[in-house]
Amino acid sequence: MSTKMTMNNNKRRIKEHNPVLNFFTFLVMFIVVVACIVPFLYIVAMSFSSPVAITNNRVSLWPVDFTIEAYKSVYEYPNFFRAYGYTFLYTLGGTAIALIMMVLFAYPLSKDWLKGQGFVMKLVVFSMFFSGGLIPNFLLINSLHLVGTVWAMLLPYAINQFNLIILINFFKSLPGEIEEAAVIDGLSYFGILVRIVLPLSGAALATVGLYTAVFFWNNWFSALIYLKSSQYPVMMLLRNIVNGRTMIVDNGGMGEKSSLSISIKSAVIILSSLPIILLYPFLQKYFVKGMTVGAVKG
């Protein structure tokens, strides 16, 4: 597959040259890379630097007085790794449930001509703008006896309307002829979904899956409201460590008196976002592969 890809590319490159476009592309890419990577390097550098060096403005993009003390502190922070485990559970479980639910919903909804499709689409769009608020949601979850269970984290967000609409839109863009042929061949619609539509939707599923995974990775509010502290995900701890006192209260208490050092905060930021950042490169093959007739046959 990839050899074919490169061959295609080579062919194109030989044929065309547009110096202005090339220059512009490289300029934009250069700016993006610098802008995106520099602040992150700065955070990494601080996580490996001594607090004194940071305080005296001696750290820029490279660690000064290299130390792993900050990571040690995080390691010793109570329950950090248990929370990490829960985060993985919520992210994997939540994404799996969400993808199944959304695919099952999106495929029928991508058929404009299906009776009732229009009405259900309106229901979906309407619900984007009106939510019930905290208390009704809590009472619902409570009456389903999900409070204090991991399901409270996994179920309520299985369908996100935004992602659903993106998926529907992708399904709509698939060439209808292939499906029609399959119907004639006697394949059921479930069969078409599983054997034809899904294999063609790698990029779409990767996009929606990634968006969903990141949502579950970052979701701390449901955890706060529905879960026991022993089930908290790592983002909950991150919030407590990094935010400390975002919301200022009238009468300051202990929280005002001290905060963790910048190096520890930086280490927490790195540790809590690295796995999800590393997920993207693995999904990238779906964005590069491209959908060709050859891919369908293969």
Binding site: C36, I43, N57, K111, V125, F126, I166, K172, S173
Partner: protein, 327 residues
Amino acid sequence: MGKKDKSLQNMEHVKKVSFTHYMGRYWQFYLMMLVPLVYFILFKYVPMFGNILAFRHYKPLGGPYGDRWASGYKVWPAPFRYFEQFLLKAEFWTAFKNTLIISLENLIINFPFPIIFAILLNELRNLKLKKFIQTVSYVPRFVSTVVVVSIMSELLSPSMGMLTRVIDNVFGVGRIYYMNEPQYFRMLYILTDMWQFTGWTAIIYLAAITGISSDMFEAARIDGASRFQQIIYITIPTILPTIMVMLILNVGHLLSLGFEKVLLMQTSTNMSVSDIIDTYVYRYTLGSSSPQYSLGAALGLFNGVIGLILVSTSNFVSRRLTGNSIY
């Protein structure tokens, strides 16, 4: 005339097919939908009844729907008590105006940017470089808002900020406290949004571009189209449905901005431009001395209605102009 004929024909066609026959053919679609639909109604629509609180008096522990209908406040009649409490306030309309201005500016600048980025990224021929840039551009999404704002405050600090010094040295404008001055607020908001979300949003467009059949480019090349022409005549038209769907969704959410970021960037000095609906709501509900749930519900309902109007209008316009719509 022709169009009408065709639709009539379709109607006839649908009518002719009996219900049992139709279901016999398409039942699988309805079966697929069943679980998600039940789920959807349970988790999205059941809690929605809570919105009735906008017209009801909230009593703590008196259930989520209040204990009685709201009485009149000062001017407006009975159940509109909580609507009067903000719709007749000048401060609310300032926040409303600020929200729209920031949102529109943000939309104009930050909506096309990921599209351009995705298209240009697709023009890169070096696969490794492409993957690298793609990953790097998505990293800022994972730097939490608190950290983004604190890095920004640090760079732009009037006394210690690196960037403040550089700007002062180059332009000699003095050490301005950028985070506090009203005239820089929107610019900083939009630039950080661009930084955080360009790579992230571009993923959708990258996926859409991936869907373009390479045969089309092949054919264009044979016709002698330059790469720039290929972008204009193939790439953009093919991903236009995705662009339009994203635009409609974005317009629908014009009233919702990054609440946490605005709250963190807000100072007393820049309040005149930085107070948005969400921060206004926050101060009157969760942030107030006693949380006003009914007022919160009324504000939520107001936001929802505006959002719905915006989304249906843009959906309608898009359908008319480009043939693309979300429903």
